[in-house]
Symmetry: C2
Subunit: 208 residues, 2 copies
């Protein structure tokens, strides 16, 4: 299993090294998202980060390693955001949790409008990361669903299929309403309406 830290030329031990690494990452994130991996030059990154080209190679062995580093970090970020958001509410009812989870996911995408883009890029910049990302997400989903089934809150089913269904739904809704549309126009009420729609179908199905 690939770890973000293994992609660095050496682990940041000093304060300065930490600061510069952070500058580089923020810049890379920014530009990888705005343009894309292949249209982003190292010159672009170091210019935005306000360091020299040599410095870049002081931290990462090559361009692809830096990209992977950023993607892995971002994945951690989303998961943390949702996990924290969920635990804060104290909800245990699975249906309410699902609702809140979808809401939190869309929220995150709204606050970081291009985050899906950067993760989706990995689909063909570094496919193994893409697979690992959704595998991971999916497995966690499955686990939670399994315990919900155990206490009779969710119908027994092939939970792998169910988790990919749910991930697909959330992802496409995020793409539609955050990326396609003008996400500044997406009010909180509208977001709740969308989530409610989804929940209604997950509750009683779509066919009469």
């Amino acid at each position: 299993m690939i770890k973000a830290e293994d992609l660095l030329k050496s682990p940041p031990k000093t304060k300065l090294r930490e600061v510069t690494l952070e500058k580089l990452c923020l810049a890379a994130e920014q530009i990888f998202m705005k343009k894309n991996y292949y249209n982003t030059s190292i010159y672009d990154i170091v210019t935005e980060a306000d360091v020299s080209i040599g410095t870049f190679y002081n931290y990462f062995p090559d361009k692809i390693s830096m990209y992977k580093y950023v993607v892995l970090k971002h994945g951690q970020d989303i998961r943390k955001f949702i996990a924290k958001g969920l635990s804060k509410t104290g909800i245990t009812d699975r249906k309410k949790m699902e609702r809140e989870g979808i809401k939190l996911y869309l929220d995150y995408c709204l606050k970081n409008p291009r985050v899906i883009n950067i993760i989706w890029q990995s689909h063909f910049v570094a496919p193994e990361l893409f697979i690992a990302y959704y595998d991971n997400f999916g497995k966690q989903y499955e686990k939670q669903l399994a315990s919900a089934v155990a206490v009779g809150e969710v119908y027994p089913a092939d939970l792998e299929v169910v988790s990919y269904m749910l991930m697909g739904m959330s992802n496409f809704l995020a793409i539609k309403y955050v990326e396609f549309g003008d996400h500044n126009n997406l009010t909180d009420e509208r977001l709740y309406e969308i989530v409610d729609q989804v929940m209604e179908i997950l509750q009683r199905g779509m066919f009469v």
Copy 2:
């Protein structure tokens, strides 16, 4: 609205021009899928197509136009495949149609294992195509759902949300079972099991 034909340097009027164009497209499709847009050089394409570099520029003004051409053609292909497959069955019941539609979509992805890949690439190679593709697909979905609502086969709902939910599901299942897994190991029975799982949830929901 961008049309595939407008991307050609001139419309193929002679037989020879049609043949060479087809050779180029097949080669490009092949390689764009195996590698990706940015890792594919024009030299790669013309070598596979067994023509010269000059010939390439005889047909397309540049690399991006050729890519767009291939994506647009592929989009037409999928839609035709599903529409034809559906009309052949003669089904009118919306639930059965949905089932068959999802099955056909996964079938298409199985037969063209990297087709999602090439369309998803457009997400950041040519975002306007990506948006148009799903917009189009989604609108058609909506229309069909609307008539199903009219005859009382589907619950009234925000059909835009519903169609993106359905597209997201299908896409992610295709990715999971066609791309991630070893798609040669995916039997027809397993495919039907997956579709049945989906339908069960769309029928009665997932929450007890």
